[in-house]
Every structure is written in structure tokens, then in C-alpha cells.
Symmetry: C2
């Protein structure tokens, strides 16, 4: 990020994000911005989440990737949920994150009045996605035990802007020598209010706790 140009860019982003947020609120759609490093398990967690909530809520997903639509295709196979793909390479010059304008363009294709809960799966990156408000209600991150205990200290903005952290692959924590206590100390040092939920997208462990957090935050349908 470089000087005044970028400050203006972020200010423009914030204005568009505010408009997105107003629009989501008007239609009663709760929006989760899901972020992580590459391979932490966002898509697999979404597969479980969509499967569990399908039928109870009217769902939609916005997929952000530099290139390709592999995750969209995976999620479409799970349940009859609309999944929209944003590729940053083609339309947006290869950006390493989603921004509010991309979401504003994307949600033009989402049936907002007919949707209760929208998941935005951001580009896999622990730096810039944290800087760009897209108008979401909640920022949620996934961290994998395989990434190590030091990541909250090295990517402090991401860990500080999120309200929930899904600590994924907890089933192999022992096998990879993950020191959970140290990780939590590091999390708290940058974000004392962070809610940490241990999950395994593979085994399903902890997913009910995540669903409980999620559904208790979604406003009741009017």
C-alpha cells in the first residue's frame, strides 16, 4: 500500500462498502466475509455449513479467486445454493483480495430479497483482505493448525479485525505438534475479544458450535 493514492482508494472502498451494507440490511441479508491463508479449509467448512443450513435459511455464496471456479463448482455440488464467482484476474487486474466494488458488482446477480445469509469466500491471503471492508456483517477467519502458532503475531491485522476464528484441522493438531495454548496467547495479544472455535472440516468436530454461533447472529426472519 502506497501513500495518498491508497488512502483515497481505501476511502472510496469504505463508501462503497457502506452502500453495500445498507443494501444488505434493507433486504435482511446477513453477510459473512470468510478469510484465511490458502488451504486453511474455507471451502470445506462452507460445504459443511451449506449442507447443514440448507432448507433452514435461504443461502447464497460469493466466491473470490484470482483465477478459476473450482470452489464454486465444489459448492454447487453440495446443495442447491446459488454460488457466484468473482475472478480478480480477469476483471480486476489480479487483485489479492476482494474489495467493496467487486462485491457491489457481484451482488447485482444475487436475489437479495430472497436471501437470508450470504457467505463471501475471500481470496486466500492473510494480508490485504483484512484491509478491505466489503460491507459484511461479520468477518470470520479460518486458521489451520498446520500454519503454526506464530501467525497472529505476523498477520496481526487479519487476526484483529475478525470476531470469530475457526481453528481448523484440529484433528491433526497433535500429529503436527501444534501448541494450542501458545497460539491462543498470541491471538489474545492482538485481539482479546476473538472467539476461537476448534473445528475439523474433515471429521465435522466443532462444526455444530460454529453453526450455533452463526445462527444465533442471524436476525430472525420478518
Amino acid at each position: 500500500m502506497i501513500g495518498a493514492d491508497v488512502r483515497n482508494l481505501l476511502s472510496a472502498n469504505d463508501r462503497i462498502a457502506a452502500a453495500n451494507r445498507e443494501r444488505f440490511a434493507r433486504w435482511g441479508a446477513y453477510v459473512v466475509n470468510l478469510m484465511s491463508a490458502p488451504g486453511a479449509g474455507k471451502t470445506t467448512i462452507l460445504e459443511r455449513t451449506l449442507t447443514a443450513l440448507h432448507g433452514r435459511y435461504r443461502l447464497a455464496v460469493i466466491e473470490g479467486d484470482v483465477r478459476g471456479s473450482y470452489d464454486r463448482d465444489r459448492l454447487r455440488a453440495v446443495a442447491d445454493v446459488p454460488v457466484l464467482q468473482i475472478n480478480t484476474e480477469v476483471a480486476y487486474g489480479g487483485e489479492c483480495h476482494l474489495d467493496a466494488l467487486m462485491i457491489a458488482n457481484g451482488i447485482a446477480d444475487v436475489d437479495l430479497p430472497g436471501t437470508d445469509l450470504i457467505f463471501i469466500e475471500n481470496v486466500g491471503n492473510l494480508v490485504c483482505p483484512a484491509e478491505f471492508d466489503v460491507g459484511e456483517d461479520s468477518k470470520v477467519m479460518v486458521a489451520s493448525v498446520t500454519e503454526g502458532e506464530d501467525k497472529p503475531l505476523k498477520y496481526p491485522l487479519m487476526y484483529s479485525v475478525c470476531e470469530v476464528l475457526l481453528l481448523n484441522k484440529i484433528d491433526i493438531a497433535t500429529a503436527v505438534g501444534f501448541d494450542r495454548a501458545t497460539f491462543l496467547i498470541n491471538c489474545r495479544s492482538v485481539n482479546p475479544a476473538l472467539t476461537v472455535i476448534d473445528v475439523s472440516a474433515r471429521t465435522g468436530e466443532g462444526i455444530p458450535t460454529w453453526l450455533n454461533w452463526l445462527t444465533s447472529n442471524i436476525p430472525a426472519r420478518s
Copy 2:
């Protein structure tokens, strides 16, 4: 990345990278730009690499992080090797990658005439570090088996600009259900010439093969 401003920025970066490269060549310093997603294992691989090559080569490391100097401190504990820290948060507005100017500024503090081999540990990110030439001789990436088989297709620029891929945590490939054959097919589809070396920074498996690649690429001392 956005339009003409960014094209100018990349062009400016390339000019500075060319000057870095000329300077490295003049002093006979071979430079490796090491990149990966967060937590793939760059630092642990560097610990093993420095330990093995210390005494045989005159080494230096440039550490890139958004914030902190945890990796620098880890590497300094390994061997008597100069390790220089670049924090993108303080001086460079929180950039998600290293660029040629940061390296030009950083190497002012490196004894180039007294150095044979410099490792640049880039910011953990599979997108933007691939876009910025810093004047290195080789781009090397680390991928962890825990990241999944699809990452070459989702981060094609990173996989295509690197000449070597260290496939790390190979000791837990079976435990995490990693499909190596599919991963290699995906690698080849974006970079047919990519050299893939299976390693485990934890057990040391494959590290001799990596060291062999590395030392056979370093020019003989004059």
C-alpha cells in the same frame, strides 16, 4: 492491481530489480527469493539450509514480514549468519509482498563482497510476491501438502514463475489425504518445467536433494 498506475509501478520495480541483479552479479552473490503461503514452512526449511551450508558458503538472509522479527530471531539462533529484517508495515504501508526497492534499501546493510548466497524470505502470500521481481537469481516456492492439490490452479502465477517447488510436510501427506499425483498434474498444467522436490523440514527428508539443487546452481567462488 489497478490500471496504468500499477503498470508504471511494476515498470519502476523492474528497473530497480535490474539494478539489484546487476549489483548481485558484480559481487558474485547468488540470490534465492523464497515464497509460499503463510505457514508452509519457509523458515524451518531455511533453518535446515543454513545449518547445512554454514561454513561452506558465506550466507545472508533478508526476512520480509508485515510485522515482527520472529523468523529473524529463529534464524539468528541457528548459525552465525547475518539476518536482516524488512517490515512492510512500518516503512512501506503494510505491503503484502517484498518489492525491488525494499530489497535495494535492505542490501545496503549486507556485506555483498563477503557473501556467496542470499536467501530472501518473502511475505507469506501466494499472490503478489509472484508479481514483483526483486533481482533474484532464482524464485523458489514452498507448498505444504496440507494446502491441498488445487492450489496451482488457483494461484497460477506463483506456480508458473518459480523454477523449484519444495513440497513440504511430505511426512504427513498420507495422514492429510494429499493426492500427490493430482497435485503434480496441476503443477505441470501451469508450469511444465517446474522442478518438484519432496521435503519434510521436520524430519529432514529430501533436504539433501534441495541442497544439491541449490549448491549446483551457485557459481564457484572466484
